[in-house]
């Protein structure tokens, strides 16, 4: 008699095999010549249920470059384990050859060269091709969108998310959950959600006044697929009113609410759910912890922290699937569900190589239709870059170095602060920088670039606070994202220390002098969560800066010293 656990172990190995056939087996040149759509989509249909997961698209309708991080520090129990493994170490862990397509898609290192070889990734018309191919194998596959969909581009901003709603309608998802969507403001979110053709789920979206489940967002929805009764439970980003401006959606309260998650799992099981899927925007480490606390979830489709993992992570009997960001990946998870139990799975993280996967013509037309009114503005070339511009990294990325430089010079500040968000595609050396590119890394509904004074003491408190939101050893106290980026300011951080003791050696780079707690400094920043923040829009600040420079060269930022990792 094979126990359920054994079945999971066995199929875990099977999944690894699929992973191996999908990843890392091609030599560099062979790959370039022979990488085909068929290979990328190859999958032996398994069991009786298929799930398709996309998440954190951040309004990227067109193919882009996207460099994965080279630094992604894990703390506490998550130190040194995925997704906190990067670069060459990541490739060794999964047996990925250097220079292979999987190297390029999944890890950092040699990025600019590989980008030239393998081309752009993503594009919702390519995603549509993949989704359609999976549906050809399994017509009743469930397509689930983990959120951060209606945010992150010029057209998304100007249409208040309508471009993404229209495009996703073309993809026909079955359900989604939320994060940045709420920064459109609660009225606009309600307007869209009321007309949505699929379920808008969130067991942790509550009415702020009464602390009761919000009517507009049901906790779960049942689907009958392959003869299996499936419950999909939504989990929105828990810390929206803290990480984003709560005043834009004051009617709602969030939180992890794992006790309510357990209640919902028990409720759907009692109603006969044979498979329980959690569509989550918790972030990977929070999902891992939640999988250990809440009993009875079979699959967590994990979003928010933008991790792309070629194999699911197993916590007890729960599998956690992480599907990357910016339209770069689609996950397919086939499940064998028998007598109300998940008996095994087969999984593949499908990288969307945009030169290999044929665009779906209908979706291309739909995307072009959304962009047409803005095409002239989008395409305008503002400058060129000599450097690789990317965002991901715990403490800095070259895009943010450039943004901080823009703030320092355009806003005449001593110190610049830029939020540690993880969205925003990359540009490779030699590329034009268009207005669209600038908006891709700055677009938001609260993009005012403020200028104010802050004491050295307050500056330290801010850094300590943000650092604890990332490096608190308990994932439930982490908000995802990365450290606030600094311009004009150097510091040392000891990850292993508690809040209040991590930051030291703060230095004003312009003079080399230590930051004086009692002195006020002129600070420029953007993306303040405070209501009434004033200033020019950050994309205008960055555009003005790049236009003046003509060609951008960004040097490495070595102003942060990291210890204790």
């Amino acid at each position: 008699m094979i126990s359920r656990r054994d079945f999971l172990q066995v199929s875990m190995a099977a999944s690894a095999l699929v992973g191996a056939s999908g990843f890392g087996n091609w030599s560099r040149l062979a790959a370039q010549q022979a990488l085909t759509q068929e290979q990328l989509l190859q999958f032996d249909t398994f069991g009786n249920v298929s799930l398709i997961h996309v998440t954190d698209i951040h309004a990227q309708l067109k193919p882009i470059y996207f460099r994965e991080p080279s630094m992604n520090i894990g703390v506490g129990a998550n130190k040194g384990v995925v997704p906190h493994v990067t670069g060459a170490e990541f490739r060794r862990l999964y047996g990925i050859d250097d220079g292979s397509p999987s190297h390029y898609a999944l890890s950092s290192g040699d990025f600019s060269a590989l980008a030239r070889e393998y081309g752009r990734v993503g594009g919702l018309d390519r995603v549509a091709t993949v989704v359609n191919a999976i549906r050809a194998d399994r017509p009743d596959a469930l397509l689930l969108d983990g959120g951060d969909t209606w945010h992150g581009s010029y057209t998304c901003y100007h249409t208040e998310g309508q471009d993404m709603v229209n495009a996703m309608n073309g993809l026909k998802p079955d359900a989604m959950t939320f994060h940045w969507e709420f920064t459109l403001g609660s009225d606009r979110v309600a307007e869209i959600v009321k007309g949505l053709r699929f379920a808008a789920l969130g067991q942790n979206i509550f009415d702020a006044e009464w602390d009761e489940p919000a009517e507009l967002f049901p906790p779960y929805k049942f689907f009958e697929r392959g003869g299996v009764k499936i419950a999909v439970i939504g989990q929105a980003f828990p810390y929206m009113p803290i990480a984003n401006p709560g005043w834009m959606f004051p009617e709602y309260s969030f939180g992890i609410r794992d006790e309510n998650m357990q209640a919902m799992v028990d409720e759907v099981r009692a109603q006969g759910a044979e498979l329980v899927v959690c569509l989550s925007h918790n972030g990977f480490d929070v999902d891992k912890k939640m999988a250990g606390v809440v009993k009875g979830i079979d699959v967590i489709l994990s979003g928010h922290t933008h991790d792309a993992l070629p194999e699911p992570v197993l916590v007890g009997d729960t599998i956690i699937v992480a599907s990357g960001s910016n339209g770069k990946f689609v996950s397919r998870v086939d499940l064998n569900v028998q007598n109300g139990r998940m008996m095994g799975f087969r999984h593949k993280l499908i990288p969307i190589f945009s030169d290999v996967i044929e665009p779906d013509a209908e979706m291309t037309a739909l995307i072009d239709e959304q962009r047409a009114p803005y095409e002239a503005e989008l395409k305008e070339v503002i400058g060129q870059t000599d450097s690789l511009l990317y965002r991901r990294g715990n403490f800095d990325g070259s895009w943010d170095n450039l943004i901080c430089d823009a703030l320092l010079s355009e806003r005449e500040a001593e110190i610049a602060l830029s939020p540690g968000v993880r969205w925003g595609p990359s540009l490779i050396p030699g590329q034009d920088i268009t207005r669209e590119d600038i908006w891709n890394v700055t677009s938001m509904t609260y993009g005012e670039a403020y200028r104010s004074e802050m004491s050295g003491e307050m500056l330290k408190i801010v850094l300590e606070d943000v650092a604890d939101n990332i490096f608190n050893p308990d994932p439930y106290y982490q908000q995802g994202g990365d450290m606030v980026r600094t311009g004009g300011l150097g510091y040392r951080i000891d990850i292993s220390k508690p809040q209040g003791e991590r930051i030291s050696d703060m230095t004003l780079l312009k003079t080399g002098e230590p930051i004086d707690p009692g002195r006020n400094y002129v600070i420029a920043g953007w993306a303040s969560v405070n209501e009434g923040t004033e200033g020019p829009k950050i994309w205008d600040v960055v555009e003005a800066h790049i236009a003046k420079l003509g060609t951008v060269t960004v040097s490495d930022n070595d102003s942060v010293t990291v210890v204790g990792a």
Partner: protein, 138 residues
């Protein structure tokens, strides 16, 4: 780029915030607990405290306490200048021994619930509630 006095005054980011580091437990907390329990030993099962991990608004943090069969539950905000929040007393006819309210927290600190259970013993539950500046999302 021109900068006006008005813009200089428009404080963004975290400048307007006054939260400081995690607050240490007020020394009076131990005394308050001892007074409530009469110095009896305190177990760790029998009372449940539900509170957010991170407060959305430190001025109004929803909490719930529940202790089946309890005759009283005391709630303390250990880091507040005045730690006692409330003591809920349940009569013998109470249908359930659950109470929820909203509390104000001066900063990151432990919220503590002590219940006097049916058999006269005491149980304790505590949860750290973080009050944070926040501001960056994935």
């Amino acid at each position: 780029m021109d900068f006006t006095r008005r813009e200089a005054l428009a404080i963004g980011g975290a400048a307007a915030l006054s939260f400081v580091l995690p607050l240490r437990a007020n020394a009076a907390v131990d005394d308050l607990i001892a007074e409530f329990t009469g110095g009896a030993d305190i177990g760790d099962s029998g009372v449940e405290l539900t509170a957010p991990e991170i407060a959305e608004n430190g001025n109004t943090v929803p909490i719930e306490v529940s202790a089946p069969g309890a005759s009283a539950i005391m709630v303390l905000a250990a880091g507040n200048p005045t730690p006692p929040v409330a003591t809920f007393n349940f009569g013998p006819l109470a249908a359930s021994q659950t109470a929820s309210t909203r509390i104000r927290l001066a900063g990151t600190q432990d919220v503590i619930a002590i219940a006097k259970l049916e058999d006269g013993s005491f149980a304790r539950s505590a949860k750290t509630v973080k009050v944070t500046i926040g501001g960056c999302g994935g």
